[in-house]
Subunit: 259 residues, 2 copies
Protein backbone atom coordinates (compact mmCIF):
# COMPACT_ATOMS: atom_id res chain seq x y z
CA UNK A 1 0.00 0.00 0.00
CA UNK A 2 1.29 3.48 -0.94
CA UNK A 3 0.71 6.03 1.83
CA UNK A 4 0.95 9.79 1.46
CA UNK A 5 1.41 11.31 4.92
CA UNK A 6 0.65 15.02 5.40
CA UNK A 7 -0.04 17.31 8.34
CA UNK A 8 -0.61 20.87 9.45
CA UNK A 9 1.87 21.08 12.33
CA UNK A 10 4.76 21.20 9.84
CA UNK A 11 7.30 18.76 8.49
CA UNK A 12 9.41 18.90 11.67
CA UNK A 13 6.53 18.08 14.05
CA UNK A 14 6.75 14.89 16.08
CA UNK A 15 3.30 13.68 15.01
CA UNK A 16 4.10 13.30 11.30
CA UNK A 17 7.23 11.33 12.19
CA UNK A 18 5.26 9.01 14.48
CA UNK A 19 2.67 8.45 11.75
CA UNK A 20 5.29 7.69 9.07
CA UNK A 21 7.11 5.31 11.45
CA UNK A 22 3.87 3.53 12.31
CA UNK A 23 2.87 3.08 8.67
CA UNK A 24 6.31 2.13 7.30
CA UNK A 25 6.13 -1.63 8.06
CA UNK A 26 2.82 -1.83 6.16
CA UNK A 27 3.75 -0.19 2.85
CA UNK A 28 5.63 2.61 1.10
CA UNK A 29 5.47 5.99 2.74
CA UNK A 30 5.87 9.42 1.12
CA UNK A 31 5.72 12.41 3.44
CA UNK A 32 4.79 16.02 2.67
CA UNK A 33 4.44 18.73 5.30
CA UNK A 34 4.23 22.50 5.38
CA UNK A 35 7.49 24.35 6.06
CA UNK A 36 5.80 26.23 8.91
CA UNK A 37 3.06 25.30 11.36
CA UNK A 38 -0.35 25.88 9.77
CA UNK A 39 -2.87 25.25 12.56
CA UNK A 40 -6.21 26.93 11.98
CA UNK A 41 -5.64 27.15 8.24
CA UNK A 42 -8.81 25.25 7.36
CA UNK A 43 -8.97 24.46 3.67
CA UNK A 44 -6.91 27.49 2.58
CA UNK A 45 -4.92 27.21 -0.65
CA UNK A 46 -2.21 29.50 -1.98
CA UNK A 47 -3.14 31.19 -5.24
CA UNK A 48 -1.45 34.60 -5.04
CA UNK A 49 2.19 33.60 -4.79
CA UNK A 50 4.25 30.71 -6.10
CA UNK A 51 4.99 27.62 -4.00
CA UNK A 52 8.37 26.02 -3.49
CA UNK A 53 9.03 22.36 -2.80
CA UNK A 54 12.12 21.04 -1.06
CA UNK A 55 13.25 17.49 -0.50
CA UNK A 56 14.04 16.93 3.18
CA UNK A 57 15.42 14.05 5.13
CA UNK A 58 13.67 14.20 8.47
CA UNK A 59 11.65 11.02 8.24
CA UNK A 60 14.04 8.09 7.79
CA UNK A 61 11.21 5.58 7.28
CA UNK A 62 9.87 7.37 4.23
CA UNK A 63 10.76 6.63 0.64
CA UNK A 64 10.39 10.31 -0.12
CA UNK A 65 9.85 13.30 2.10
CA UNK A 66 9.51 16.94 1.19
CA UNK A 67 8.15 20.23 2.37
CA UNK A 68 5.99 22.89 0.69
CA UNK A 69 5.95 26.53 1.84
CA UNK A 70 2.16 26.60 1.84
CA UNK A 71 -0.95 25.26 3.54
CA UNK A 72 -1.85 21.62 4.35
CA UNK A 73 -4.19 21.50 1.33
CA UNK A 74 -1.38 22.91 -0.86
CA UNK A 75 0.89 20.08 0.33
CA UNK A 76 -1.47 17.32 -0.79
CA UNK A 77 -2.34 19.08 -4.06
CA UNK A 78 1.38 19.54 -4.78
CA UNK A 79 2.27 15.94 -3.98
CA UNK A 80 -0.37 14.56 -6.34
CA UNK A 81 -0.79 17.19 -9.03
CA UNK A 82 2.63 18.89 -8.92
CA UNK A 83 4.97 15.97 -8.23
CA UNK A 84 2.81 13.21 -9.68
CA UNK A 85 2.67 10.89 -6.65
CA UNK A 86 -0.05 8.25 -6.83
CA UNK A 87 -0.89 7.26 -3.25
CA UNK A 88 -3.54 4.69 -2.38
CA UNK A 89 -4.41 6.62 0.73
CA UNK A 90 -3.77 10.05 2.25
CA UNK A 91 -3.07 9.93 5.99
CA UNK A 92 -3.13 13.32 7.73
CA UNK A 93 -1.61 13.83 11.16
CA UNK A 94 -0.86 12.91 13.80
CA UNK A 95 -2.07 16.34 14.88
CA UNK A 96 -1.11 17.49 18.36
CA UNK A 97 -4.49 18.74 19.53
CA UNK A 98 -8.03 17.54 18.91
CA UNK A 99 -10.04 18.08 15.72
CA UNK A 100 -13.52 17.55 17.09
CA UNK A 101 -17.02 18.85 16.41
CA UNK A 102 -17.48 22.07 14.51
CA UNK A 103 -13.75 22.78 14.90
CA UNK A 104 -13.08 20.47 11.93
CA UNK A 105 -14.05 23.44 9.74
CA UNK A 106 -10.85 25.19 10.88
CA UNK A 107 -8.67 22.09 10.80
CA UNK A 108 -5.68 21.97 8.50
CA UNK A 109 -5.35 18.26 9.29
CA UNK A 110 -8.87 17.39 8.18
CA UNK A 111 -8.44 19.64 5.12
CA UNK A 112 -5.25 17.85 4.08
CA UNK A 113 -7.24 14.61 4.15
CA UNK A 114 -10.20 16.25 2.37
CA UNK A 115 -7.89 17.41 -0.40
CA UNK A 116 -7.06 13.75 -0.95
CA UNK A 117 -10.76 12.98 -1.31
CA UNK A 118 -11.20 15.82 -3.82
CA UNK A 119 -8.38 14.25 -5.84
CA UNK A 120 -10.12 10.86 -5.75
CA UNK A 121 -7.92 9.27 -3.05
CA UNK A 122 -9.29 7.73 0.14
CA UNK A 123 -8.20 9.60 3.26
CA UNK A 124 -8.00 9.44 7.04
CA UNK A 125 -7.22 12.24 9.52
CA UNK A 126 -5.68 11.39 12.89
CA UNK A 127 -5.39 13.70 15.91
CA UNK A 128 -4.14 13.24 19.45
CA UNK A 129 -6.38 15.25 21.80
CA UNK A 130 -3.57 16.65 23.93
CA UNK A 131 0.18 17.05 24.33
CA UNK A 132 3.03 15.07 22.84
CA UNK A 133 3.47 13.01 26.05
CA UNK A 134 0.83 10.59 24.77
CA UNK A 135 1.91 10.45 21.14
CA UNK A 136 2.76 6.78 21.58
CA UNK A 137 -0.90 6.15 22.52
CA UNK A 138 -1.86 7.62 19.16
CA UNK A 139 0.74 5.52 17.32
CA UNK A 140 -0.50 2.40 19.11
CA UNK A 141 -4.13 2.93 18.13
CA UNK A 142 -3.31 3.88 14.54
CA UNK A 143 -1.61 0.48 14.25
CA UNK A 144 -4.36 -1.36 16.10
CA UNK A 145 -7.38 0.24 14.42
CA UNK A 146 -6.09 0.85 10.92
CA UNK A 147 -3.24 -1.49 10.14
CA UNK A 148 -3.25 -4.77 12.05
CA UNK A 149 -5.66 -7.39 10.83
CA UNK A 150 -8.68 -6.81 10.60
CA UNK A 151 -7.79 -3.09 10.52
CA UNK A 152 -9.85 -0.55 8.65
CA UNK A 153 -7.23 -0.25 5.89
CA UNK A 154 -7.75 -3.94 5.13
CA UNK A 155 -11.46 -3.29 4.63
CA UNK A 156 -11.54 -0.49 2.05
CA UNK A 157 -15.34 -0.48 2.02
CA UNK A 158 -15.19 1.09 5.50
CA UNK A 159 -13.57 4.22 4.07
CA UNK A 160 -16.01 6.23 1.93
CA UNK A 161 -14.86 7.47 -1.48
CA UNK A 162 -16.78 10.71 -1.11
CA UNK A 163 -15.69 11.41 2.43
CA UNK A 164 -13.06 10.59 5.02
CA UNK A 165 -12.64 9.15 8.49
CA UNK A 166 -11.70 11.63 11.22
CA UNK A 167 -10.03 9.83 14.13
CA UNK A 168 -9.40 11.50 17.50
CA UNK A 169 -7.42 9.69 20.18
CA UNK A 170 -7.62 10.67 23.86
CA UNK A 171 -4.37 11.86 25.45
CA UNK A 172 -4.09 9.18 28.12
CA UNK A 173 -1.85 6.16 28.67
CA UNK A 174 -2.59 3.26 26.28
CA UNK A 175 -4.23 1.10 28.95
CA UNK A 176 -6.67 3.86 29.92
CA UNK A 177 -8.31 4.03 26.47
CA UNK A 178 -11.81 2.60 26.93
CA UNK A 179 -12.57 1.56 23.37
CA UNK A 180 -13.65 2.83 19.96
CA UNK A 181 -16.81 4.78 19.19
CA UNK A 182 -18.09 5.68 15.74
CA UNK A 183 -19.51 9.17 16.28
CA UNK A 184 -21.19 12.26 14.87
CA UNK A 185 -19.58 15.70 15.02
CA UNK A 186 -20.62 17.68 18.08
CA UNK A 187 -20.86 21.45 18.41
CA UNK A 188 -17.86 23.14 19.98
CA UNK A 189 -18.45 26.57 21.55
CA UNK A 190 -15.84 28.81 23.12
CA UNK A 191 -16.00 31.18 26.10
CA UNK A 192 -14.18 34.53 26.01
CA UNK A 193 -12.97 34.00 22.47
CA UNK A 194 -11.14 37.32 22.15
CA UNK A 195 -8.77 38.82 24.68
CA UNK A 196 -8.37 42.58 24.22
CA UNK A 197 -4.95 44.05 25.02
CA UNK A 198 -3.16 47.36 24.57
CA UNK A 199 0.30 47.56 22.98
CA UNK A 200 3.16 49.76 24.30
CA UNK A 201 2.07 52.53 21.93
CA UNK A 202 -1.46 52.58 23.30
CA UNK A 203 -3.10 50.73 20.38
CA UNK A 204 -5.63 47.97 20.92
CA UNK A 205 -5.15 44.44 19.62
CA UNK A 206 -7.02 41.15 20.05
CA UNK A 207 -5.82 37.60 20.66
CA UNK A 208 -8.10 34.80 19.54
CA UNK A 209 -8.11 32.15 22.24
CA UNK A 210 -10.93 31.10 24.50
CA UNK A 211 -11.70 27.94 26.40
CA UNK A 212 -14.00 25.26 24.94
CA UNK A 213 -17.24 25.17 26.93
CA UNK A 214 -17.78 21.91 28.74
CA UNK A 215 -20.16 19.56 26.99
CA UNK A 216 -23.39 18.95 28.85
CA UNK A 217 -24.26 15.91 26.79
CA UNK A 218 -23.29 12.41 27.84
CA UNK A 219 -24.13 10.91 24.44
CA UNK A 220 -21.19 8.70 23.48
CA UNK A 221 -22.28 8.97 19.83
CA UNK A 222 -20.94 12.56 19.82
CA UNK A 223 -17.22 12.80 19.11
CA UNK A 224 -16.45 15.40 21.80
CA UNK A 225 -18.16 13.32 24.49
CA UNK A 226 -16.62 10.03 23.39
CA UNK A 227 -13.08 11.46 23.62
CA UNK A 228 -13.79 13.18 26.96
CA UNK A 229 -14.89 9.79 28.28
CA UNK A 230 -11.69 8.10 27.12
CA UNK A 231 -12.78 6.56 23.80
CA UNK A 232 -11.12 6.83 20.40
CA UNK A 233 -13.71 8.57 18.19
CA UNK A 234 -14.07 7.76 14.50
CA UNK A 235 -16.34 10.18 12.63
CA UNK A 236 -17.18 9.74 8.95
CA UNK A 237 -17.12 13.15 7.27
CA UNK A 238 -18.65 13.96 3.91
CA UNK A 239 -17.23 16.02 1.19
CA UNK A 240 -20.50 17.18 -0.40
CA UNK A 241 -21.71 20.22 1.54
CA UNK A 242 -25.10 20.41 -0.21
CA UNK A 243 -27.98 20.51 2.28
CA UNK A 244 -29.83 17.86 0.25
CA UNK A 245 -32.95 17.62 2.39
CA UNK A 246 -33.72 21.29 1.68
CA UNK A 247 -33.26 21.23 -2.10
CA UNK A 248 -36.70 19.92 -3.12
CA UNK A 249 -38.62 22.26 -0.84
CA UNK A 250 -36.68 25.31 -1.96
CA UNK A 251 -37.06 24.34 -5.62
CA UNK A 252 -40.85 24.36 -5.32
CA UNK A 253 -40.78 27.89 -3.95
CA UNK A 254 -37.83 29.53 -5.68
CA UNK A 255 -37.25 28.00 -9.12
CA UNK A 256 -38.36 30.62 -11.64
CA UNK A 257 -37.73 31.20 -15.33
CA UNK A 258 -37.22 34.73 -16.67
CA UNK A 259 -37.35 36.65 -13.43
Amino acid sequence: MKFLVANDDGIFAPGIKMLAETLAPFGTVAVVGPTEEQSGMGHAITVHRPLRVQAVDVIPQSAKSFTVDGTPADCVKMAVQGLGLTPDIVMAGINLGSNLGTDVLYSGTVSAAMEGVILGIRAIAVSLCGPQTYLSTAGHYVRKILLEDPGILNQPNLIPQDGLLNINIPAVPIEEVKGIRVTRLGVRKYENLFEKRVDPRGNTYFWMGGKPQLTESSDLDIDIVAVEQGYVSITPIQFDLTYHSLVDGLQTILNKEYI
Copy 2:
Protein backbone atom coordinates in the same frame (compact mmCIF):
# COMPACT_ATOMS: atom_id res chain seq x y z
CA MET B 1 -33.17 44.25 9.85
CA LYS B 2 -29.53 44.43 10.99
CA PHE B 3 -27.11 43.24 8.30
CA LEU B 4 -23.46 42.34 8.83
CA VAL B 5 -21.70 42.48 5.46
CA ALA B 6 -18.35 40.70 5.09
CA ASN B 7 -16.21 39.49 2.21
CA ASP B 8 -12.92 37.93 1.21
CA ASP B 9 -11.85 40.37 -1.52
CA GLY B 10 -11.01 42.98 1.13
CA ILE B 11 -12.68 46.09 2.51
CA PHE B 12 -11.76 48.17 -0.55
CA ALA B 13 -13.25 45.76 -3.09
CA PRO B 14 -16.14 46.99 -5.25
CA GLY B 15 -18.34 43.99 -4.39
CA ILE B 16 -18.66 44.73 -0.68
CA LYS B 17 -19.60 48.32 -1.47
CA MET B 18 -22.27 47.20 -3.95
CA LEU B 19 -23.69 44.78 -1.39
CA ALA B 20 -23.81 47.41 1.39
CA GLU B 21 -25.43 49.94 -0.97
CA THR B 22 -28.01 47.40 -2.08
CA LEU B 23 -28.93 46.42 1.49
CA ALA B 24 -28.91 49.94 3.00
CA PRO B 25 -32.51 50.90 2.07
CA PHE B 26 -33.77 47.72 3.76
CA GLY B 27 -32.12 48.00 7.21
CA THR B 28 -29.00 48.90 9.16
CA VAL B 29 -25.71 47.82 7.64
CA ALA B 30 -22.41 47.14 9.42
CA VAL B 31 -19.46 46.22 7.21
CA VAL B 32 -16.34 44.24 8.06
CA GLY B 33 -13.72 43.24 5.53
CA PRO B 34 -10.16 41.93 5.61
CA THR B 35 -7.42 44.53 5.17
CA GLU B 36 -5.96 42.48 2.31
CA GLU B 37 -7.49 40.24 -0.32
CA GLN B 38 -8.03 36.75 1.11
CA SER B 39 -9.20 34.63 -1.84
CA GLY B 40 -8.63 30.92 -1.37
CA MET B 41 -8.44 31.26 2.41
CA GLY B 42 -11.24 28.76 3.02
CA HIS B 43 -12.22 28.69 6.67
CA ALA B 44 -8.79 29.71 8.00
CA ILE B 45 -8.65 31.57 11.32
CA THR B 46 -5.74 33.43 12.88
CA VAL B 47 -4.56 31.92 16.15
CA HIS B 48 -0.78 32.55 16.18
CA ARG B 49 -0.68 36.35 16.07
CA PRO B 50 -2.93 39.10 17.39
CA LEU B 51 -5.54 40.78 15.22
CA ARG B 52 -6.07 44.50 14.82
CA VAL B 53 -9.35 46.22 14.03
CA GLN B 54 -9.62 49.62 12.39
CA ALA B 55 -12.66 51.77 11.77
CA VAL B 56 -12.76 52.82 8.13
CA ASP B 57 -15.00 55.05 6.13
CA VAL B 58 -15.17 53.46 2.71
CA ILE B 59 -18.83 52.49 2.68
CA PRO B 60 -20.95 55.59 3.16
CA GLN B 61 -24.18 53.61 3.39
CA SER B 62 -23.05 51.66 6.45
CA ALA B 63 -23.69 52.59 10.05
CA LYS B 64 -20.32 51.13 10.93
CA SER B 65 -17.49 49.84 8.82
CA PHE B 66 -14.17 48.41 9.84
CA THR B 67 -11.35 46.22 8.73
CA VAL B 68 -9.54 43.31 10.38
CA ASP B 69 -6.01 42.25 9.38
CA GLY B 70 -7.04 38.60 9.19
CA THR B 71 -9.13 36.10 7.26
CA PRO B 72 -12.82 36.34 6.26
CA ALA B 73 -13.79 34.02 9.15
CA ASP B 74 -11.73 36.20 11.55
CA CYS B 75 -13.70 39.24 10.37
CA VAL B 76 -17.09 37.76 11.24
CA LYS B 77 -15.86 36.28 14.54
CA MET B 78 -14.36 39.65 15.48
CA ALA B 79 -17.51 41.60 14.58
CA VAL B 80 -19.72 39.39 16.73
CA GLN B 81 -17.47 38.11 19.51
CA GLY B 82 -14.86 40.88 19.65
CA LEU B 83 -16.92 44.00 18.97
CA GLY B 84 -20.26 42.68 20.19
CA LEU B 85 -22.35 43.35 17.06
CA THR B 86 -25.69 41.50 16.99
CA PRO B 87 -26.68 41.15 13.32
CA ASP B 88 -29.87 39.39 12.22
CA ILE B 89 -28.10 38.12 9.15
CA VAL B 90 -24.56 37.80 7.80
CA MET B 91 -24.26 38.65 4.10
CA ALA B 92 -20.95 37.66 2.49
CA GLY B 93 -19.84 39.10 -0.83
CA ILE B 94 -20.35 40.18 -3.47
CA ASN B 95 -17.36 38.06 -4.46
CA LEU B 96 -15.78 38.79 -7.84
CA GLY B 97 -15.54 35.24 -9.15
CA SER B 98 -17.74 32.18 -8.77
CA ASN B 99 -17.98 29.99 -5.68
CA LEU B 100 -19.43 26.87 -7.24
CA GLY B 101 -19.25 23.13 -6.70
CA THR B 102 -16.40 21.67 -4.68
CA ASP B 103 -14.62 25.03 -4.86
CA VAL B 104 -16.79 26.23 -1.96
CA LEU B 105 -14.36 24.35 0.31
CA TYR B 106 -11.69 26.94 -0.59
CA SER B 107 -14.01 29.92 -0.52
CA GLY B 108 -13.39 32.73 1.93
CA THR B 109 -16.79 34.17 1.00
CA VAL B 110 -18.70 31.00 1.89
CA SER B 111 -16.59 30.64 5.06
CA ALA B 112 -17.43 34.17 6.21
CA ALA B 113 -21.10 33.22 5.89
CA MET B 114 -20.48 29.84 7.58
CA GLU B 115 -18.85 31.60 10.51
CA GLY B 116 -22.15 33.45 10.96
CA VAL B 117 -23.98 30.12 11.08
CA ILE B 118 -21.52 28.78 13.69
CA LEU B 119 -22.31 31.85 15.78
CA GLY B 120 -26.06 31.17 15.46
CA ILE B 121 -26.78 33.84 12.83
CA ARG B 122 -28.48 33.13 9.50
CA ALA B 123 -26.22 33.73 6.54
CA ILE B 124 -26.11 34.11 2.76
CA ALA B 125 -23.07 34.15 0.45
CA VAL B 126 -23.26 35.99 -2.89
CA SER B 127 -20.80 35.72 -5.78
CA LEU B 128 -20.68 37.18 -9.26
CA CYS B 129 -19.30 34.55 -11.65
CA GLY B 130 -17.04 36.91 -13.57
CA PRO B 131 -15.54 40.37 -13.74
CA GLN B 132 -16.66 43.62 -12.18
CA THR B 133 -18.33 44.78 -15.44
CA TYR B 134 -21.48 42.93 -14.40
CA LEU B 135 -21.51 43.84 -10.71
CA SER B 136 -24.74 45.76 -11.28
CA THR B 137 -26.36 42.49 -12.43
CA ALA B 138 -25.42 40.99 -9.05
CA GLY B 139 -26.76 44.03 -7.18
CA HIS B 140 -30.00 43.84 -9.15
CA TYR B 141 -30.61 40.17 -8.36
CA VAL B 142 -29.65 40.52 -4.69
CA ARG B 143 -32.41 43.13 -4.45
CA LYS B 144 -34.87 41.13 -6.51
CA ILE B 145 -34.31 37.70 -4.95
CA LEU B 146 -33.56 38.59 -1.35
CA LEU B 147 -35.00 41.99 -0.49
CA GLU B 148 -38.02 43.03 -2.52
CA ASP B 149 -41.31 41.45 -1.55
CA PRO B 150 -41.64 38.40 -1.46
CA GLY B 151 -37.84 38.13 -1.20
CA ILE B 152 -36.11 35.34 0.66
CA LEU B 153 -35.21 37.64 3.57
CA ASN B 154 -38.93 38.20 4.15
CA GLN B 155 -39.41 34.44 4.48
CA PRO B 156 -36.90 33.45 7.17
CA ASN B 157 -38.01 29.81 6.99
CA LEU B 158 -36.27 29.64 3.59
CA ILE B 159 -32.88 30.22 5.23
CA PRO B 160 -31.79 27.22 7.32
CA GLN B 161 -30.45 27.83 10.84
CA ASP B 162 -27.88 25.06 10.49
CA GLY B 163 -26.72 26.02 7.03
CA LEU B 164 -26.59 28.86 4.55
CA LEU B 165 -27.66 29.83 1.04
CA ASN B 166 -24.86 30.10 -1.52
CA ILE B 167 -25.94 32.33 -4.41
CA ASN B 168 -23.99 32.60 -7.67
CA ILE B 169 -24.99 35.12 -10.31
CA PRO B 170 -23.93 34.78 -13.95
CA ALA B 171 -21.74 37.60 -15.29
CA VAL B 172 -24.07 38.77 -18.06
CA PRO B 173 -26.29 41.81 -18.61
CA ILE B 174 -29.40 41.86 -16.37
CA GLU B 175 -31.79 41.05 -19.21
CA GLU B 176 -29.81 37.95 -20.21
CA VAL B 177 -30.32 36.19 -16.86
CA LYS B 178 -32.68 33.28 -17.56
CA GLY B 179 -34.10 32.73 -14.08
CA ILE B 180 -33.38 31.19 -10.68
CA ARG B 181 -32.46 27.55 -10.00
CA VAL B 182 -32.17 25.92 -6.61
CA THR B 183 -29.22 23.58 -7.09
CA ARG B 184 -26.84 21.01 -5.64
CA LEU B 185 -23.07 21.54 -5.59
CA GLY B 186 -21.31 20.07 -8.60
CA VAL B 187 -17.76 18.77 -8.79
CA ARG B 188 -15.19 21.21 -10.11
CA LYS B 189 -12.01 19.72 -11.57
CA TYR B 190 -9.01 21.61 -12.92
CA GLU B 191 -6.64 20.88 -15.79
CA ASN B 192 -2.92 21.64 -15.48
CA LEU B 193 -3.25 22.81 -11.90
CA PHE B 194 0.43 23.56 -11.36
CA GLU B 195 2.69 25.49 -13.69
CA LYS B 196 6.37 24.77 -13.05
CA ARG B 197 8.82 27.64 -13.61
CA VAL B 198 12.48 28.36 -12.93
CA ASP B 199 13.59 31.54 -11.14
CA PRO B 200 16.59 33.68 -12.23
CA ARG B 201 18.81 31.73 -9.81
CA GLY B 202 17.90 28.40 -11.36
CA ASN B 203 15.48 27.26 -8.62
CA THR B 204 12.14 25.67 -9.40
CA TYR B 205 8.84 27.12 -8.23
CA PHE B 206 5.18 26.29 -8.89
CA TRP B 207 2.16 28.50 -9.56
CA MET B 208 -1.23 27.09 -8.70
CA GLY B 209 -3.62 27.97 -11.48
CA GLY B 210 -5.34 25.69 -13.91
CA LYS B 211 -8.47 25.95 -15.99
CA PRO B 212 -11.77 24.47 -14.75
CA GLN B 213 -12.69 21.49 -16.92
CA LEU B 214 -15.86 21.99 -18.91
CA THR B 215 -18.89 20.34 -17.37
CA GLU B 216 -20.31 17.50 -19.42
CA SER B 217 -23.59 17.47 -17.55
CA SER B 218 -26.61 19.46 -18.69
CA ASP B 219 -28.47 18.97 -15.39
CA LEU B 220 -29.76 22.40 -14.36
CA ASP B 221 -30.03 21.13 -10.78
CA ILE B 222 -26.22 21.34 -10.55
CA ASP B 223 -24.93 24.81 -9.63
CA ILE B 224 -22.08 24.88 -12.17
CA VAL B 225 -24.43 23.96 -15.03
CA ALA B 226 -27.17 26.36 -13.97
CA VAL B 227 -24.78 29.33 -13.97
CA GLU B 228 -23.16 28.27 -17.27
CA GLN B 229 -26.64 28.27 -18.79
CA GLY B 230 -27.38 31.78 -17.52
CA TYR B 231 -29.35 31.06 -14.33
CA VAL B 232 -28.78 32.43 -10.84
CA SER B 233 -28.01 29.36 -8.71
CA ILE B 234 -29.07 29.10 -5.08
CA THR B 235 -27.52 26.15 -3.24
CA PRO B 236 -28.39 25.33 0.38
CA ILE B 237 -25.20 24.32 2.21
CA GLN B 238 -25.05 22.50 5.50
CA PHE B 239 -22.80 23.15 8.37
CA ASP B 240 -22.73 19.64 9.83
CA LEU B 241 -20.08 17.68 7.95
CA THR B 242 -20.97 14.30 9.52
CA TYR B 243 -21.58 11.62 6.90
CA HIS B 244 -24.74 10.56 8.73
CA SER B 245 -25.77 7.75 6.42
CA LEU B 246 -22.55 5.89 7.22
CA VAL B 247 -22.65 6.20 11.02
CA ASP B 248 -24.97 3.27 11.81
CA GLY B 249 -23.19 0.84 9.51
CA LEU B 250 -19.75 1.74 10.85
CA GLN B 251 -20.98 1.52 14.44
CA THR B 252 -22.04 -2.08 13.95
CA ILE B 253 -18.60 -3.01 12.71
CA LEU B 254 -16.25 -0.75 14.66
CA ASN B 255 -17.74 0.13 18.06
CA LYS B 256 -15.72 -1.79 20.63
CA GLU B 257 -15.16 -1.52 24.38
CA TYR B 258 -11.71 -2.15 25.88
CA ILE B 259 -9.75 -2.66 22.70
